[in-house]
C-alpha cells in the first residue's frame, strides 16, 4: 500500500511504474494568488510602484518569456495509467488550494489599497489589474472544477467565479459552449475575420443570454420560476453580491470602481482565451442537420510547459472538448490537433492587435483546411473580403453562410 500526498491510499497493484514529471509542478498554479504578496514585497524592497502591476507584468511579459525559454512538452501519460492518474486525489487538492489563497489575496489587495489613507490612483489601478489577473486565472480554476461530476467541485467553481461576477460562466460553458463549440451559433467560438474586439461583446452578451435561457429551460421543466433560488446563475451571482458587500463594508465605497474594473478585466482575460481556442474552426454540418461530433481538429492547442502549468493543461484543448470531465493531469496532446505558434499567454497579447493576429493566424486556419478557406468558420460580414483574399477553393461552400 502506498500513501499519496492527500492521505488517501492507492493500491500498489494499480500504481504504475510511470512517474508524472509534472506532479509537483502543478502546485505552481496554486501559487498564482501569491503574486499579490510578491508585488507588495517588491514595492517595499525597491520603492517602485510599478510592482503593484505584477499581475499584468506576469501574464503579458513573464509567461511569454518563460514559454520562449522553457519551451514545449508534448509527452502524454501512457494510456494504461490514465485511470490511475485521474483517481489520485492529490491533483484535485492542488486545485482546491487555489481558492483560500485567492480570497486572502483579494482582501489583502483592497487592504493595501486603502490603508493609511490609501495609495495614489496609479498604484490603486496596479493592484486592481493584479487582482483582475488573479481573478481571471481563477476563472480557469473554476473551469477545471466546474466540469467535474462532484457536487463539491461545482460548488467550488462558483466560489472561484464570485470575485469576477462571472458565475453564469459555468452554466453556459458546460451546457452551452461544449454542446455548440465550433459552430457558427456558439457565442464563445470566434470566427475567421472577427477581431477580438468584435468578438468580446458578442461572447459576453451572447454567453450571458444563452446561459440564462439554459437555466430558464431547466427550471421550467422542473415547474419552477426562473427567478428561483434553485437558479444556478442567480445563486452564483448571490455569492458575488455577498463578497462585494463585505469588501465595500470593510474598505469603503471608494473601492467600488476598482472592484468593477478588476472584474471586467478578469472576464476580458477569459474571453481572450475563448477567442483563441477555436478561432476560425468549425464542425461540418451533416446531411441529417446535425453538426459532426467535436473532434481534435476543432480546437487550437499548445504544449508550452509554463502556460500549461498555470492553466491546468487548458491548452490541451482538443482532449478537453473530447472528454470534458477528464481531469487536467490526464489531458493528452493529439498529433492531429491544430497547434498555435506559441502559448495562450503570448496569443492573448497578439489577439489585442487584430492586424498582427490576422497575419499570424489566418494563414494557419487556411493551412488547417488544406487551402480551402470556405471550410472555415468565417465572420459573415467579412465573408466576401476573406474569400477575395484567400480564394474560393474547389471545395463546397456550405458552411457558416
Amino acid at each position: 500500500m502506498t500513501a499519496t500526498l492527500s492521505g488517501r491510499v492507492a493500491r500498489t497493484a494499480e500504481r504504475p511504474d510511470w512517474r508524472d514529471g509534472k506532479r509537483y509542478l502543478w502546485l505552481i498554479g496554486a501559487v498564482v494568488p501569491m503574486f499579490m504578496f510578491a508585488g507588495w514585497g517588491l514595492v517595499n524592497l525597491t520603492g517602485l510602484g510599478v510592482f503593484w502591476w505584477i499581475g499584468p507584468i506576469f501574464i503579458y511579459l513573464l509567461i511569454p518569456l518563460l514559454d520562449l525559454l522553457i519551451g514545449a512538452d508534448p509527452t502524454n501519460p501512457p494510456e494504461d495509467v490514465v485511470a490511475w492518474l485521474e483517481q489520485d486525489r492529490y491533483y484535485r487538492w492542488v486545485t482546491y488550494a487555489f481558492l483560500p489563497l485567492q480570497y486572502v489575496a483579494i482582501f489583502t489587495g483592497f487592504w493595501l489599497m486603502t490603508r493609511n489613507g490609501g495609495l495614489a490612483v496609479i498604484d490603486r489601478l496596479g493592484i486592481t489589474f493584479t487582482l483582475g489577473t488573479l481573478n481571471g486565472i481563477a476563472i480557469n480554476t473554476a473551469h477545471e472544477l466546474g466540469h467535474k461530476k462532484e457536487h463539491l467541485e461545482r460548488w467550488f467553481a462558483k466560489i472561484a467565479l464570485a470575485p469576477s461576477a462571472y458565475g453564469h460562466f459555468f452554466i453556459e460553458h458546460n451546457r452551452g459552449h461544449h454542446v455548440r463549440v465550433a459552430t457558427p451559433g456558439d457565442p464563445a467560438s470566434s470566427r475567421l475575420g472577427e477581431s477580438f474586439w468584435a468578438f468580446l461583446p458578442r461572447t459576453v452578451v451572447g454567453s450571458l443570454r444563452n446561459g440564462w435561457s439554459l437555466e430558464r429551460t431547466r427550471l421550467r421543466r422542473m415547474g419552477k420560476r426562473t427567478a428561483s433560488p434553485r437558479n444556478d446563475i442567480l445563486n452564483a451571482w448571490a455569492m458575488t453580491v455577498v463578497l462585494w458587500a463585505v469588501l465595500l463594508m470593510l474598505f469603503g465605497i471608494g473601492i467600488a470602481p476598482y472592484l468593477v474594473v478588476q472584474a471586467v478585466f478578469a472576464f476580458c482575460l477569459l474571453e481572450a482565451v475563448n477567442y483563441l481556442e477555436h478561432y476560425g474552426l468549425v464542425r461540418q454540418l451533416l446531411p441529417n442537420g446535425r453538426w459532426e461530433r467535436v473532434n481534435p481538429r476543432h480546437s487550437w492547442n499548445n504544449n508550452n510547459v509554463t502556460t500549461n502549468l498555470f492553466l491546468y493543461h487548458l491548452q490541451r484543448h482538443s482532449d478537453h472538448h473530447a472528454n470534458p470531465t477528464r481531469r487536467y493531469q490526464a489531458l493528452r496532446h493529439f498529433e492531429e490537433s491544430p497547434q498555435l505558434p506559441s502559448g495562450y499567454a503570448t496569443m492573448i497579447v497578439l489577439s489585442y492587435v487584430p492586424p498582427l493576429w490576422r497575419r499570424v493566424m489566418d494563414k494557419r486556419v487556411l493551412a488547417h483546411y488544406g487551402g480551402d478557406i470556405t471550410l472555415a468558420n468565417i465572420q459573415p460580414a467579412k465573408r466576401e473580403k476573406v474569400l477575395a483574399k484567400y480564394g474560393r477553393a474547389s471545395g463546397s461552400d456550405n458552411l457558416a453562410a
Binding site: R175, M222, A322, P324
Partner: protein, 55 residues
Amino acid sequence: MTRYRCEVCGYVYDETAGEPREGFPAGTPWDSVPDEWACPDCGVREKVDFLPADD
C-alpha cells in the same frame, strides 16, 4: 425500466431515478426526454447519441 449511457463520460440516465435536477422526475421514461437534451455532465453527446446501458 431502462438505463441509457453517455459513451463519452459514462453518465447514466436511469428511468427509475429520472434526473430531478434536470426536470425529469423519477419514473420519467426516456421517450419523454427531449431529443436535443445534452448529457448533463459532459455536454458532448445529446440524447440521440446515448446507448442502452446493459449492466
